[in-house]
Structures are given as structure tokens and as C-alpha cells.
């Protein structure tokens, strides 16, 4: 497979643009640290909805760091908690990825995060210090105190803002206030910072709720799908108020940082990306249709089916959001969630994720494999396994769909795996007990119909290697 490699030998346009905006130099050398757990760090000290602290997916979220492999260029470095699988390397190269140099800190085993592993590993620190001296930059997904510490200790310059800036601009309360000040059409709702405010906000909506207009309560620092609750009835709202009220009485802490919004009937969810360069210039990168179920992210369809006027409206919103973020000290990439309401009204700012996004990391694969006029679906397939599953078994099940030439049965549709480490990430935690892993992929096809058929075929093929249960 290595022999048939079509791997790029230099950075693609997308990566060069990212580098130019973040560092001022299109040929900068980046050290990627894809810390998908950053949002949990920013949430520390902010009281949200009561939630069980389930560490269920920590190991899995961490292994999403491999998504950086198909974005980074051949001169870049990717920090990982475990080496890249050799078969995955071959698969990614066949899809045109140049693959960066991988640096695994020597004390990665048992560490809580890859940034912490770096800080605990003298050899990795020495290597990063050497890279810093050569002018390399640190490119985390977003900066939390740990990544900031890595930059300080090694001398790597941060290609993105500091931890305090990230924490400030990633609150949903901040996002709603920014949208209001920028004059963007907002989803009706309000911000709360005290339990009493939530009670007032909810109770004022009881008549509407009783008429079938639900509201959603979201943590200011909720992570995709966690920390939100949809309330369809006053009875359910009262249940929530009882629970938060009890906690406040017990702890004496009456703070509660949430936003309350109408749960709009929608045509589709949208996600767009903007890049703010170091001089404050804002570029609109792309818009995709986001697939969500009950607020949980399921994938992205690209390109979106928005009309020109709707895209123009998003471009204007991106310019306004970028300008406001820059004025608040933020530069780099931000993803924005938007929604096209069931009544055709576009709400251009539902939530700002001022950090690298899933879409950002898929940019390299998409740039190389998405042909003009074709469509793509980025998603993950969940597989329940009872033992680690090697990549060749996955590729064998997928058959021609995973070949670089694509599957003639679906008009040449092709599936590119973007993260393999997450499939077996939880295998180590359970001896023989079933675990659910995730296979991240982007599927390319000539049209939506073939895309849907190829996706269904991939799901069916993968379900055959799942040991029990159905893929979801």
C-alpha cells in the first residue's frame, strides 16, 4: 500500500492559509496538539446544569487527537498519546495525506491528557524546546491552562490566543451577548447567571410551553450534547428548577451559568467556519449542514443546500462575529453553529466555538478528495466490540468503498477514515467486556442519493464486524 501512495509532499492550500492566518507565515512549522477535551477545562469553575460526572468517554475523546494527522503537513509535528497505527498511516497516505512527524511523549501511558503527558516527559519537552528554537509554533485545538504551560515551558509560540481568552469567548453567554451587540438575528431567549434568573426565565415561558413551544436550557460551557435539557412542559421545567434549587441550597452556591432559548422547529442545522488573521482580517471558510439528534452532533454534509442569499447572510454574520472576536483578543479559527428555521428564517448565530473544530481537521481530506460538483458526509460510525479490531478487518468489511478508486457500485463513492485510534480507545478499560468505539470517516460521492446509499452500505458492512448491538 505504501508503494501506491499518493501522499502530498507539501502543504495544501487550506493548511497554508491556516498557517498564514495563525502565524503570519504560510510555511510555518506547526506542532499540533489536538486537545478535544479543552472545553471541559474551560468549564471548570463555571456552575452549569446538574450532571453526573461520567468519565465514560475521556479516553475516546482524547484519541480524537489523531484527527490532526490528515490536516498537518509533512514538516509539521503531531503530539499523540500513542503512535499512529501503521495500516492507518498507509490508508491516510493513499488518500493523499502527507502525514506529519509523530511525537509520543515517553510518559504518555496513564496520563490524564496528552498535554499533561508532555509536561511529565523530559525527552518530549527537550524535543519541543529544540523545535521552538527552530521557530515552530504550538497549534492546540484551543488553549487550556495545560497547553499554555507546554508553550511556556518549551518556548513554542502559541499560534492561537491564550487560555483566558479561549475561556472567555467560548461561553454561550458571551456568544449571545456578542450576537446582540452585532445586531445578528438571535434565537429568542436569554442569559442567566443565577438560579433565580433561570426560574424567572422559565416561568415566563410556561404559557408558550403549554401551547407546545419547548425551550432548551444549555450550559454556558456545555460540550456537544452534554449540559443541555429540552423542556416541553411547565411540569418538566419545575422538575429541573427543583433539582437546581436543591443543589443551590445544599452548596450555598446560587450561581448558574446557562442560556434559555426557544427550541425552534428547524429545517436544518448549519455549521460554518471563519478565520481571523493576526491583523483582524476575517475570511469565511465554508458552510456545511450539521446533522444533529437531540442536540448531539452526528456529522456534517457538504456542500450545504443553502441559496446564495442565505450564504451571503452567513458571510455577513461571519464578518461581524470575526470583528467582535478580534476586538476581544481572539484570532484564529472559529466555528459557528446556525440554524435554518422551519419557517425558512435563518438564525446565523446559535453558538460560537472559537477553536479548531471537527470540520477544521477534516479540511485537508476534503480539499484532496472532494471533487467539484460532488458531495461529502463527515461522520462517525459507532461499533460495539469485545476485543480490539485491527484496521485491515475494517477495510476488509468496507471493501471497494475504502479503496482510493472508490466503489463502482455507488458511482465511485469513497470512504476515507480520518481517525482510527478512537475505535479501540476503550478496549483497554474493559477486559473482555463489550465497549463502543468510534470510527471517524468522510464519505465522498457524486450526489446525495449515492452518498446516502454508500453510507447505508458502510453502516451495514461495519455492523457485521461489531460483536453485538447495532451501529448507531
Amino acid at each position: 500500500m505504501e508503494g501506491s501512495s499518493s501522499a502530498a509532499r507539501e502543504d495544501g492550500r487550506y493548511l497554508r492559509r491556516l498557517k498564514a492566518a495563525s502565524t503570519g507565515a504560510a510555511d510555518a512549522r506547526l506542532v499540533f496538539l489536538c486537545n478535544f477535551e479543552a472545553e471541559e477545562q474551560w468549564a471548570v469553575g463555571h456552575t452549569g446544569l446538574p450532571a453526573p460526572r461520567f468519565p465514560v468517554s475521556a479516553a475516546l475523546v482524547r484519541r480524537m487527537e489523531e484527527l490532526g494527522a490528515t490536516l498537518a503537513g509533512p514538516r509539521d509535528v503531531l503530539l499523540l498519546s500513542a503512535p499512529l497505527d501503521e495500516d492507518f498511516r498507509a490508508h491516510a497516505r493513499a488518500a493523499g495525506a502527507a502525514l506529519p512527524e509523530v511525537l509520543v511523549p515517553e510518559r504518555a501511558a496513564g496520563s490524564a491528557s496528552t498535554a499533561q503527558a508532555v509536561l511529565d516527559s523530559p525527552r518530549a519537552l527537550a524535543e519541543l524546546t529544540r523545535l521552538a528554537a527552530e521557530g515552530a509554533w504550538l497549534m492546540p485545538m484551543g488553549t487550556s491552562p495545560l497547553e499554555q504551560r507546554v508553550a511556556e515551558v518549551t518556548g513554542l509560540r502559541l499560534a492561537v490566543p491564550d487560555s483566558a481568552t479561549f475561556e472567555r469567548v467560548n461561553s454561550k453567554i458571551y456568544g449571545r451577548r456578542l450576537a446582540a451587540e452585532a445586531g445578528l438575528r438571535e434565537v429568542p431567549g436569554e442569559c442567566c447567571v443565577q438560579v433565580g434568573q433561570l426560574a424567572d426565565a422559565l416561568r415566563s415561558r410556561y404559557p408558550a410551553m403549554a401551547e407546545g413551544r419547548p425551550v432548551v436550557v444549555k450550559d454556558a460551557y456545555g460540550v456537544s450534547g452534554k449540559g443541555l435539557v429540552v423542556l416541553e412542559s411547565p411540569e418538566k421545567a419545575e422538575r429541573l428548577l427543583r433539582m437546581v434549587g436543591r443543589r443551590a441550597e445544599r452548596t450555598g452556591n446560587h450561581r448558574l451559568e446557562v442560556v434559555v432559548e426557544e427550541w425552534l422547529p428547524k429545517h436544518c442545522d448549519l455549521n460554518y467556519q471563519l478565520t481571523i488573521d493576526r491583523d483582524g482580517r476575517v475570511e469565511f471558510d465554508f458552510v456545511k449542514e450539521a446533522l444533529t439528534e437531540n442536540g448531539v452532533h452526528r456529522g456534517h454534509l457538504m456542500p450545504s443546500r443553502l441559496g446564495e442569499g442565505q450564504v451571503a447572510e452567513l458571510r455577513e454574520a461571519a464578518a461581524a462575529i470575526g470583528k467582535a472576536l478580534y476586538a476581544d483578543g481572539f484570532t484564529g479559527i472559529a466555528g459557528v453553529d446556525a440554524v435554518l428555521g422551519g419557517d425558512g428564517v435563518l438564525y446565523p448565530m446559535l453558538e460560537i466555538n472559537a477553536r479548531l473544530n471537527m470540520s477544521t481537521y477534516q479540511g485537508g481530506v476534503t480539499e484532496r478528495a472532494l471533487r467539484p460538483g460532488h458531495v461529502a458526509l463527515a461522520r462517525h460510525y459507532a461499533l460495539t466490540l469485545d476485543a480490539p479490531c485491527p484496521l485491515d478487518r475494517v477495510l476488509g468489511a468496507l471493501g471497494p468503498l475504502a479503496d482510493p478508486e472508490g466503489d463502482p457500485a455507488f458511482g465511485g463513492a469513497r470512504l476515507v477514515i480520518t481517525c482510527f485510534g478512537t475505535l479501540n480507545a476503550l478496549a483497554g478499560e474493559s477486559t473482555g467486556a463489550p465497549f463502543t468505539g468510534r470510527l471517524y470517516a468522510v464519505l465522498f460521492a457524486p450526489d446525495r442519493e449515492l452518498l446516502a446509499a454508500a453510507d447505508a452500505a458502510a453502516e451495514k458492512a461495519l455492523s457485521r464486524i461489531a460483536s453485538r448491538g447495532e451501529p448507531s
Binding site: P52, F54, G225, K226, L228, V229, R239
Partner: protein
């Protein structure tokens, strides 16, 4: 409340949260993987359970193991009721 009554209450609560009929639950069914409960619906399930069995649950003191299967959730409910009485 005997075991079958506890399971029946859990079925009723899951029906409300998952918005489809849940009946005939086996105790070894896994809440997340088999029944597709997700992190969003856990809070909802707790709220509904509180009402259904008259318990006060502190979500932040919950153990992941309590939510592994229908059976472990039933154990949790029974333990909590014993503690409350």
C-alpha cells in the same frame, strides 16, 4: 416496591425520556449502548425518576456503574429508596 415493580417504573420513565414505548426490559440491557440513552437524556431520566418514585437524587454524586444496565439502575433505585426510608 419489589423488583418487577422497580423495573416497571424504569420502563415507564424510559418511555417518557426516549419518547417511544419501552417494555419487557431485560436486566442486562445496557442503557447507553443498547437503549441509546445519551448524556443529554441522563439528566432527564433522573428528573423523571425523582417524580416517579418520590426520590431526591443528586446527579453529581452518581456513579457511572449505576447507569451501566437496567439491572444496576434498578439496584440504585432500590438502594436509594431503602436509604430514604
Amino acid at each position: 416496591m419489589d423488583r418487577s415493580e422497580t423495573i416497571a417504573v424504569i420502563e415507564k420513565c424510559l418511555t417518557e425520556v426516549l419518547k417511544h414505548e419501552v417494555t419487557g426490559l431485560r436486566e442486562d440491557l445496557r442503557l447507553f449502548d443498547d437503549l441509546h440513552l445519551d448524556s443529554t437524556s441522563v439528566l432527564e431520566l433522573l428528573m423523571v425518576l425523582e417524580d416517579a418514585v418520590g426520590l431526591e437524587i443528586d446527579p453529581e454524586n452518581l456513579d457511572m456503574d449505576d447507569f451501566r444496565t437496567v439491572g444496576t439502575l434498578a439496584d440504585f433505585v432500590e438502594r436509594s429508596l431503602d436509604g430514604a426510608n
